[in-house]
Amino acid sequence: MSHPAPPDAPVPDMPVLSIRLADGVLAFDGRLTIARVSETERQLEDMLARSPGPLLIDLSGLTRIDTVGAWIVHRLLRDRPGSGITGASADAERLLAEVSAADRPCEVRPVTEPFILRELRRLGEYVYAFRDSAVSALDFIGLTIISAWRAIAAGRGVRWNAVWVQMEQVGVNALGIIGLMSFLIGIVLAQQGAVQLRQFGAEVFVINLVGRATFRELGILLTAIMVAGRSASAFAAQIGSMKLAEEVDAMRTIGLDPIEVLVLPRTIALILMMPLLAFYASVLGVVGGGLFSWAELGIPPATFAQRLREVVPMSDFWIGLSKAPVFGAIIAIIGCHQGFQVTGNAESVGQRTTQAVVEAIFIVIVLDAFFAVFYTALGLS
């Protein structure tokens, strides 16, 4: 890029800048513009380092100058008292006046603190943020319940139109991906189980493994994780963008309760759809396992179904399904809650969306562990 012309041969009309410094006279020839300055900045600095003290700056050879060029000249005049200019055109004079009027120090980025302090501060902030987030999430759950109660008590009821729309988006539109995932997981489960059980000649127990694991745990847990990734993020982003566009504030001023309008339909939709999705996922998981057993272990579908009825107690089915509405509610509320936390800019929407997914998946897994302990304590193993 950098190929300055030889100092002794200035060619005025060529798009180049040549710089000469001799006997305290600094002469620019050609174009003193941002493009030429960027090519010759270091060369100029080297020259100037060799010649301290006041300079006479000769601008008579300039064919063009812009504000960056004027800034270079202005900076020299400012930093070297006693310097002067000669041969400046009217354009150059005007730009020089303009940039010197605009010469005010200005920070480029916010002041940063030392690394250790910053990291310590961030750790502290993180702990506080965790506490605040937990408190405000609880707060939000309470608000949602109160809103639901108010809507029903005031006879407004639930906005079923919005619920239908959300049910389609969170449920029907998710059928493809959740079905595919469950089907493949069923196959993997049967295949891995078969490999291990074959060592004992007990391949037939693959049916127990697939049936019980799918209905009781995997069907609902994997569905919840998939829905958390799909819908908690969507809720956070939708509500977050609405908050940025002041739509949420507009609702409040019209007298609509944003929680009733935005959160309730989403929560109800997920509470209704999660059990259905979980059941659907479990069935497809079993179908995947059954097909694998048929193809690889030679267990015909009729036998598989017969055996499934013997080994999978109904309690497994009900336990799995009982968790679904709870997961649905928590995923919806966390997603919406994060959406309402959006402030300021588009970046915040991204952060909150990520946060919603991470939080929702985390809480779903924690809750699932609680359910496992709870049902075991009840003797339902």
Partner: protein, 267 residues
């Protein structure tokens, strides 16, 4: 700044046709923007002012027509890859379009970093004087766009548009959403910067005061093309219902009177 009518136009649009689906926005639109002039483009809502600007800067590929900017042909999407061209223009979008993850000063440095290898110190200095030039206080430099008011965002976005000392400046409704005092200040600023930096300005506006205050020429879009262009005085005599309504309606007259009695001390 005197305009140079004899020199080739900076922007030359011939036979521009833009369609969205079966809706035609422009049909054989011709436009010249002369070197050194501030051209105001006016027209009713939905007449395709922004689409015209987007066609000229290559964000919108027209169905038909030739567009030349600074002597180079503009051909839709590939234009934004033409760095020789893009670095000679600055664009101020209606909402400012500042990068929200960067501070004001860092926003100004983005084009500098993209095109040139300057030292960090010089870049910071350039950002600082650009901040001051557009009339922002020094405290605005390290602030993020979300911390600025609407008027300050516009100024910051103008500073970014001017970062590379462009020859050509595109402004999409620069005074929309500003209070009248801020809008006057912004008009003055554009006029001053255009004069000191020798800019050619393509300005979309609804603001009659802006037209009177700073535009050398005004082009009117109606009926899918430029139906008239000329000085404000010429256009107010132009016989077309929309043009008459626009310049001789209550607001048009008020702006003309304000301009007549209290000319801005610019130009």
């Amino acid at each position: 700044m005197a305009t140079h009518a004899d020199e080739p136009p900076v922007i030359r649009v011939r036979g521009l046709v833009n369609r969205f689906g079966d809706q035609t926005v422009h049909e054989g639109l011709d436009l010249d923007v002369r070197p050194g002039e501030i051209l105001g483009v006016v027209g009713g809502s939905g007449t395709g002012k922004s689409v015209l600007m987007r066609s000229i800067i290559g964000l919108q590929t027209p169905a038909e027509g030739d567009i030349t900017v600074l002597g180079q042909p503009v051909t839709g999407g590939e234009t934004t890859q033409n760095q020789e061209l893009t670095r000679q223009w600055g664009v101020l979008f209606q909402g400012g379009a500042l990068f929200s993850g960067l501070t004001v000063a860092e926003n100004i440095e983005v084009p500098l970093r993209e095109y040139f290898r300057l030292t960090g110190q010089l870049m910071d200095e350039i950002a600082a004087y650009k901040v001051a030039m557009v009339g922002l206080p020094p405290e605005a430099g390290p602030k993020y766009p979300s911390e600025l008011s609407g008027g300050m965002k516009k100024r910051a976005a103008l500073a970014r548009a001017l970062a590379l000392d462009p020859k050509l400046l595109f402004l999409d409704e620069p005074t929309a959403g500003l209070d009248p005092i801020a809008a006057d200040g912004f008009d003055t600023l554009i006029r001053t910067l255009a004069e000191t930096m020798g800019l050619t300005v393509f300005l979309i506006t609804h603001d009659l005061d802006t037209l009177h205050a700073i535009c050398d020429r005004v082009a009117v879009i109606a009926e899918k093309r430029i139906i008239a262009s000329g000085t404000v005085a010429e256009l107010s005599r132009f016989d077309h219902p929309w043009v008459q309504e626009y310049f001789s309606g209550p607001r048009g007259r008020a702006a003309a009177i304000a301009q007549h009695h209290a000319p801005l001390e610019v130009g």
